[in-house]
């Protein structure tokens, strides 16, 4: 416990961590300020107009569905400009996930319900970068400067020392990410209340946002642990940064091109980014370019990656790297 306490203090006192926190808060402040500047509270007339536009849009959808049913029933002739699905249920407004609402037709108005998810993804992306860099520099700088050796002279238990560092890192990342992302969303909720409109904030919305929030926090922990593990394996902060850049360039860009040339149908299935998006958003729909090769009949070329599948992949990657870091650190000569 003493060791973790000391490590927490060391981590919090690092200049790099403090700089990243300042940058994060500055980015938040800029985002909030620009949103406040670009948004206004809608007047009654604007709301009324938006509601009528939404009503028109819904009526149009219902009419299209009704026409589809009547064409299929042979009560109306098929117009050559009509595109009608094989099953009219596909365009049934009653089955749609979300019908047009008034807030979709408000210009220059910040709608919290519409923007909360993108805002959360933005802050999670920033926090993941923060986690990766802080995780890598925390152990990388200590290994490089001899700080770890100093500590081992005091506590010659390598696993305990590395575990304490990883625990301190993930604890700080979790607490910091939970607080800052909640505060960030809270600020924009207030902006929605005072300088825009909150939108439709029902139980389904909060449940979905809560799920994304929780998964986002776990993604930040994954990023921090991966940065920490790769920097431990490579003995330097730069090892982690170099590995991430190399992965992005060689695999996410280069291999994707090669898969395209070779005609592989589902290159996204072997890309970490797909699993990351699936994890953050709950699921991701991806296109299989060769699923509908013969062109005969209806073909749904999409396939789905869900968050459980993504969790398995991300856990295996993170667990593997952290495990390898511990094994190597236990055996390594510290010079």
């Amino acid at each position: 416990m003493n060791l973790i306490r000391a490590e927490l203090e060391r981590l919090a006192a690092r200049r790099f961590v403090q700089l990243m926190v300042v940058l994060l808060l500055a980015a938040f402040a800029v985002a909030a300020a620009t949103t406040v500047a670009d948004s206004h509270r809608p007047s009654a007339a604007e709301l009324e107009q938006a509601q009528s536009q939404a009503a028109v849009q819904i009526a149009h959808l219902e009419a299209t569905h009704e026409r589809c049913l009547r064409v299929k029933a042979g009560q109306l002739p098929l117009d050559e400009n009509d595109y009608l699905p094989a099953d009219c249920a596909e365009i049934d407004p009653a089955r749609m996930a979300q019908l047009p609402v008034a807030t979709d037709f408000l210009d220059g108005v910040f709608v919290f319900a519409n923007q909360a998810r993108p805002l959360l993804y933005t802050v999670v992306a920033f926090l993941m970068l923060f986690g990766l860099l802080v995780g890598a520099s925390y152990i990388g700088a200590d290994l490089n400067s001899g700080g770890v050796v100093n500590l081992l002279l005091w506590r010659p238990r390598r696993e305990e020392v590395l575990r304490a560092k990883l625990t301190a890192l993930t604890g700080v990342l979790l607490g910091f990410s939970a607080l800052t992302s909640a505060a960030y969303l809270g600020v924009f909720w207030l902006i929605g209340q005072a300088g825009g409109t909150p939108g439709r904030l029902d139980g389904e919305f909060w449940a979905g946002l809560g799920g994304s929030y929780g998964r986002g926090l776990v993604a930040v922990l994954f990023a921090g642990a991966i940065g920490f593990a790769v920097a431990t394996l490579g003995r330097h902060t730069s090892a982690a940064l170099g590995t991430v850049v190399a992965y992005l360039v060689v695999w996410e860009l280069g291999a994707r091109l090669v898969f395209g040339v070779l005609g592989s149908g589902r290159p996204d299935r072997v890309m970490l980014s797909s699993y990351l998006f699936a994890w953050l958003s709950g699921e991701v729909r991806l296109w299989d370019g060769y699923a509908c090769g013969d062109g005969a009949g209806f073909c749904d070329g999409f396939y789905t990656l869900g968050w459980p599948e993504a969790l398995v992949v991300l856990l295996a990657l993170t667990g593997g790297l952290v495990g390898a870091a511990f094994v190597l650190f236990r055996r390594r000569d510290l010079i």
Binding site: N2, A6, E7, G147, L151, L153, W154, R155, P156
Partner: protein, 338 residues
């Protein structure tokens, strides 16, 4: 006497793809007994720091056996780590922290009362600078901080690798006094250093390592005595005649500009009597005792060569040690075999 450090047949080599295998320590033995101030000497790259790192569990030994304060190291080192203070090479500290904070964090991590921090800062002369950031410290101040970190635990055994590195003359003297006071308080000290004069002043025992092997060990006086050639510097008015007289008496004499050096004379009375009987009166008769530096240079073969730039590996390789100790010790009670 109780041995607090025992190293038997330590072997360690490093491998790299480019340079292949390089032997750093080759069957090295070291024994430091309680209460000693033990100097650990060797040229650059001779294996001193590797030995200390292996002893402290920072590098994995390929073979041999090590014990610290009676327990096997590194396997059971954590049991006695609280009684061992150590600095290995020049430790680096986080520049953004003050010395006080650095030591306080170490104290917290090691379960040492934080009240010790001020005491050790006072001991190493950093009391008034303890709240400045380490980044602004000179090399010597960082070295003092390193020593302070080693003293923080109030150790029974202190291992100092180049503690005088970067210290000014006053700092070196303070370090010497500090070491002496610690030794007087019963702390066993193992010091690795290149400053041979300091080692001779501070240490009662010495071990010299060359190319990973032990070249000499024992009390400083005994090690020096082993290299005493019984030489005497003779100052005299007529050196040519004196040389002839001594030569006739069977004494080997070398003539220098203004003095003679007689070799292999155990009793100086032989010189003064032989010369006096011939009416030659000695005005100076000084024993030329070997100092640690000359012994070190001779043992390690690392004396400067005016004809060529000496390379770090151009040193003497001592005879191979006995058969390497293969560590088959599976005993749990930590006893040393007879």
């Amino acid at each position: 006497m109780t041995a607090v450090i025992e190293i038997e047949g330590l072997r360690k080599s490093f491998r790299s793809l480019r340079r292949g295998r390089r032997v750093a320590v080759d069957g090295f033995d070291l024994s430091v007994e309680a209460g000693q101030v033990h100097g650990f000497l060797g040229p650059n790259g001779s294996g001193k720091t590797t030995t200390l790192r292996a002893l402290l569990g920072l590098v994995r030994a390929d073979g041999g056996r090590m014990r610290v304060l009676g327990v096997d190291s590194p396997r059971r080192l954590p049991e006695v780590a609280g009684r061992v203070g150590a600095i290995v090479e020049s430790p680096q500290f986080f520049g953004n922290f003050t010395a006080h904070r650095t030591l306080r964090l170490l104290a917290v991590a090691g379960g040492v009362p934080t009240g010790r921090v001020d005491e050790v800062l006072e001991q190493v002369g950093l009391r008034d600078r303890g709240h400045e950031r380490v980044r602004g410290y000179s090399l010597g101040m960082k070295q003092r901080l390193a020593v302070a970190s080693a003293l923080l635990k109030g150790p029974e055994l202190l291992i100092l690798d180049e503690p005088a590195n970067g210290l000014d003359p006053a700092g070196i003297r303070e370090m010497r006094d500090l070491t002496r006071s610690l030794a007087a308080a019963g702390v066993t000290v193992l010091i690795s250093s290149h400053i041979l004069g300091e080692i001779q002043l501070i240490c009662d025992h010495v071990t010299i390592i060359s190319r990973g092997r032990r070249a000499a060990t024992g009390p400083v006086d005994e090690v020096l005595a082993g290299f005493d050639r019984h030489e005497w510097r003779i100052g005299i008015a007529d050196p040519d005649r004196a040389a002839a007289v001594l030569g006739a008496a069977g004494v080997t004499v070398a003539e220098h500009d203004d003095h003679l050096v007689a070799h292999g004379v155990a009793d100086p009375e032989l010189i003064s009597r032989t010369l006096g009987e011939q009416g030659l009166w000695v005005r100076e008769l000084t024993p030329l005792r070997p100092d640690l530096e000359s012994v070190f240079l001779e043992l390690t073969g690392s004396a400067p060569d005016p004809a060529a730039s000496r390379q770090v590996d151009d040193v003497t390789l001592p005879p191979a040690p006995r058969e390497p100790v293969i560590d088959l010790d599976v005993r749990q009670n930590g006893e040393v075999p007879a």
